[in-house]
């Protein structure tokens, strides 16, 4: 039975999962959840995802939520296709450096990138007022954090080393929305961040889902 991804086409976290499904060429069915109708807060949904958030998957009898956990599960369960390096290293030190990079994404990038996108993209979409000082704080903090990225990416190709890992891919959904939020840091902070960002957003797996994730049965 095909993997079911419960989410919606333009959701950042749904596209984060869909990117990895494409990387590993895993067929999947997108089961639409309509947040504008509050479907993600309905009792039946909360049974599967108690925080009322999107997405979750059903695969082989397992229900799993949290997009980064889903991505890790996909990489753990399925074999990387020929010519694609495993997105999570298996050796002790390689794995540790991956975990360091995955933690950097979550603690040093996501709060500020997602915060900026929330203020200038999501809130206007919902008719809510932008908090300009919150936006400014997110952008100035993100700028300082990207100094750290510029240093790391000057010594190695990707965040965990010279091979791409899930930690790099986790950045893409919000990183790609910063320009729409009026923030050009991904291409102006420095040559290393720019090189890395452009490579990530050119990947076929992201190009396939960037304008909306959809069911995919053959690669």
């Amino acid at each position: 039975m095909v993997l079911k991804l419960h989410g919606f086409a333009l959701s950042t976290c749904t596209r984060r999962v869909a990117t990895v499904l494409h990387e590993y060429k895993i067929p999947f069915e997108l089961v639409p959840v309509d947040p504008s109708k509050g479907e993600h807060k309905a009792a039946a949904y909360l049974e599967k995802q108690p925080f009322g958030q999107v997405p979750y998957i059903e695969d082989d009898g397992l229900t799993l939520f949290e997009s980064r956990a889903i991505c890790r599960y996909i990489v753990d369960k399925y074999r990387a296709p020929a010519g694609v390096s495993p997105l999570v290293p298996k050796d002790t030190k390689g794995k540790a450096l991956f975990e360091q990079a995955a933690s950097i994404e979550y603690s040093n990038f996501d709060p500020y990138a997602s915060g900026a996108v929330r203020e200038k993209v999501f809130k206007p979409m919902r008719g809510l007022p932008t908090d300009q000082s919150a936006y400014d704080f997110c952008v100035s903090t993100l700028s300082a954090k990207l100094d750290g990225y510029e240093a790391i990416l000057g010594k190695q190709k990707y965040l965990a080393g010279d091979e791409i890992t899930l930690a790099d891919l986790f950045h893409i959904p919000y990183a790609s929305m910063l320009a729409a939020a009026g923030c050009d840091l991904m291409t102006t902070k420095g040559p290393n961040v720019t090189r890395w960002f452009n490579e990530l957003t050119a990947r076929a797996s992201w190009v396939a889902v960037k304008d909306g994730a959809k069911s995919f049965s053959s690669y």
Binding site: L46, F51, E66, R68, A69, E99, A102
Partner: protein, 221 residues
């Protein structure tokens, strides 16, 4: 083989998280204190090791690693029998789900409210904002209702056995209780008996109790 060196702060929250896991796994370590008050962690010689200018980081026989959850995972991976990171695929997936829940649904509000509550409790002269604390605690109350649903069906956040995902809730899970009394605070509400049960177990662990007065070099267990 050289003893593991933990570069951080005796009372610093993230240093305490790492020390708790080192103690859980009986790993000897030396605490090397970084003079954060005087900005030592922002100087070029420090940034060479931790480019974001944050504490802590470790040096394990020449292997440098930062980000506390990565450090804890690295140490737990060297002790697979501990079960702190389950290895069978389904249990591992549920562990990763719980570890991600801690990051996305607990830490953002718990760390912001917790840090300020800790500053007030310690009497440090650093500005705090009661409204910011209250707003974050309000968010956290709702998140903990979902935790109550989860913990009413299983003993720990990832299943029936304790994992790193539970331990990652320290120390901020403790600091947020500083708003309230010992018997009635955000982690101990009559309306959330399972969260209270789980929290009480966590903070009774010897690994947490060992550093109540601050992290210190530990060579024998």
């Amino acid at each position: 083989m050289a003893i593991l060196k933990l570069y951080g702060g005796k009372q610093a929250s993230c240093t305490r998280r790492v020390a708790t896991v080192l103690h859980e796994l009986n790993v000897p370590f030396e605490l090397v204190e970084i003079d954060v008050m005087n900005g030592a962690h922002k100087k070029p010689e420090y940034l060479k090791f931790q480019p974001f200018g944050q504490i802590p980081y470790i040096d394990d026989d020449g292997f440098i690693l930062y980000e506390t959850r990565a450090i804890c995972r690295y140490i737990a991976a060297k002790h697979p029998k501990s079960g702190l990171i389950p290895t069978d695929p389904k249990s591992n997936a549920l562990f990763e789900q719980a570890a991600s829940v801690e990051l996305t649904n607990f830490d953002p509000s718990a760390s912001k409210a917790g840090l300020q509550l800790w500053i007030k409790k310690m009497g440090y002269t650093y500005p705090t904002d009661d409204k910011v604390i209250a707003d974050h605690l309000e968010t956290l109350e709702k998140k903990l209702d979902a935790y109550e649903a989860i913990l009413s069906k299983q003993r720990y956040v990832a299943g029936e056995t304790i994992t790193l995902a539970d331990i990652f809730h320290l120390p901020y899970g403790v600091y947020v209780t500083y708003d309230g009394s010992e018997s009635d605070n955000i982690m101990n509400r009559a309306s959330r008996p399972n969260v209270a049960r789980w929290y009480k177990e966590l903070v009774s662990r010897p690994s947490w109790l060992a550093y109540l007065d601050g992290v210190k070099t530990t060579t024998a267990y």
